[in-house]
Amino acid sequence: MGIKFSLLAVLALVLVAFLGVEAIGMNYLFGVLVPYLAFFLFLTGFIYRILKWARAPVPFRIPTTSGQQKSFSWVKQNKLDNPSTKLATVGRMALEVLLFRSLFKNTKMEFRQGPKISYQWEKWLWLAGLAFHYSFFIIVVRHLRFFMEPVPGFVHLTESLDGFLQLGLPGLYITDLLFLAAVTYLFIRRVVIPQMRYISLPADYFPLFLLFGLGVTGVLMRYFTKVDIVKVKELAMGLATLHPTVPEGIGVLFFIHLFLVSTLMAYFPFSKLMHLGGVFLSPTRNLPNDSRIRRHINPWNYPVKVHTYEEYEDDFREKMIEAGLPVEKE
């Protein structure tokens, strides 16, 4: 049900853009106003969410320790999985964010009657995750050429690295393939693995369809129907320099693509995609395990009712004296 709903939602988005541009000719709306609004929502929404998390205090130091703690000089600490300094914690975070280190530890449980349980190699999610995120990232970087004049060197470099296969004309980008393949894998995995399907919400399928739609319209424009790149750049530069114009004759496919991007941007801050920002704030990863070494302060620590020693001695004084236990008050 979630699948159908999400698929229909994305198809509806496509249809809206198609009709809006093709039938009613609202090119300015879809080419300028919607992207601006979406970008505004993305920016403010993103910042709002981050600030909201950042405002919540971290009362306790609760890193998940995935390796040997700092101990004696003769015991080798696992600094990256159980950091006790800020620097090592930054290292841990870098590995998480850049290489998805925790996900790399993934295994798959095999349960056989007997019972016998074993844990199998399973790096596909990690691999597809990396492929997906990096190709997405590179594609975004490549898109900067539309928004910048002159095009910066690193964008050219990215393009040439990405197109190193030099297949076909225009040259095939590896990341286009990787991106579609990875998104497809992530989707199939969700549908085929019974537990995954069971936990999946529309909010899990929707971004996948949206991204897939984005990728497909992008690929179509680049390799098949060929949009007028010069005009697209004119529009993009207009947006970037706050002098928006909508050149004639760009083709509806572009507007569909742009509308899907706008949807992604507007949707981003209100969805699970915010894990992008959240991962940096996760208290089980971004704190050193040093709370025996340095006192961590809880800003809302408050006094609590305790049963004091004096009360305890009052309860048991006779018995304590009889048993020869020292007491404060005879």
Binding site: L125, Q195, A203, P283
Partner: protein, 541 residues
Amino acid sequence: MASVPKANELIAGTDHKPPKTGWMDTPVEFRPGTWCYSGKSKNLEVVGLPNPREWSPIDDDWKLPENWKEIIFEGLRERIHKYRSFQLFMDICVRCGACADKCHFFIGSGDPKNMPVLRAELLRSVYRKDFTLAGKILGKMAGARELTEDVVKEWFFYFFQCTECRRCSVFCPYGIDTAEITIIGRELLNLLGLNIDWITAPVANCYMTGNHLGIQPHAFKDMIEFFVEEIEEVTGVKIEPTFNRKGAEILFITPSGDVFADPGTYTLMGYLMLFHEIGLDYTWSTYASEGGNFGLFTSHEMMKRLNSKMYAEAKRLGVKWILGGECGHMWRVINQYMDTMNGPADFLEEPVSPITGTKFENAKSTKMVHLVEFTADLIKHGKLKLDKSRNDHLKVTFHDSCNPARAMGFFEEPRYVLNNVCNHFYDMPPNTIREQTFCCGSGSGLNTDEYMEMRMRGGLPRANAVKHVHEQHGVNMLSCICAIDRAVLPPLMNYWVPGVDVTGVHELVGNALVMEGEHERTTDLRGEPLEGMEDSDNEDL
């Protein structure tokens, strides 16, 4: 106690296929063996927990307070603002499923709501409905749902089917720790008076008498003195421990389970022998006579209330620092919470071993040292005379308890000690030890008899790994550094891997420790004959 099906029958019907109905439409079924008895009013009253009354989870009417919904919403709101962890974990899960098959309760029960991600969704769905825009507008489509009494019952069922072991959080790409969610979930339940007797009774006892079992001061002393006699029988050495002694250098605190129940008591004998042999200037306390802290399984506040006794007693007695015995969740509380909650311990000194002069740099602020660290340091400096062969009748493996593992990172110290006190040590497979260790299945206050079926299910992955080394290397002794483990692993082993016994690390230290003035040992601390001594006559011992 609910009867538990035989081992082979128990999992015969267990597969991991989710049911046809979606999880929001699948009601919970309170089958015997899968839930714990409710907290008794008298215990709730002792510590002032809300809504004391007589009720049972299998009743239709749970006698919730009139305004229970409001209480939950207020409780949720408060905690979202107090804990960044909680707020973030409510928001950023992508449901990638990496955590799903990492939970021992899911592995052992096949119940999809025991996948950490779904356990969290049980609460997340309600959070979405009332605290997120998408949930308010899109409702079920956004994974949001109404808070109803059935939802609360489901929470009760599944938040008391999580041992707060943190295994899931090792694998989550964002470090989402379902244990944190369970901790908050239980706090919310407690606001309505929904708790279990096996937790509230120890909490009340610990509050009033200083320990879970409610052992009164004179009895506590008696019990330890009983073990002094046992030690004299085995070794011929007479030990004189002191209690509530002002001016001692060190205060020693361990879980009261060690004082009370086998095989923890043998571990306790190990502690006593070690301290005597090195001439440690230390004292026991009858007031702070509990290392464990079932407050952690109730609420952050209760944890703080119970934990406060450690520093208070250290201050009253004027000791220099505190030494802590073998316990799992006790060490989570000490490592992650104690100094923050009840510190600063500026009345204590930075711990230094009086025997070796080693400074415990990693305990500079809390001023509390783990006994296994302490012993490892003694051994490293050659301060102990150890006869490993006295453990030759044992083939030993080590169970990393969840809390020292994933809330501390305590892996090498116990292994170093073990390798120095026994000749036959075999680790279990890498996916089942250290940070990936499997829970005993009975942690976080779920070690009660009426819950035996779930315990056997939850403990299956641990047992399965023990079975592996039992079959490969003939392992017959499972060592651990946790009092709950010592209480719950024996029935687990009996059930899944008969022929494997359970011990604390310091019991093995006690066996190997060559003491000044001891007579020839013919048995270990349990009275079992040592290797080569099977024929010797120990009748007269």
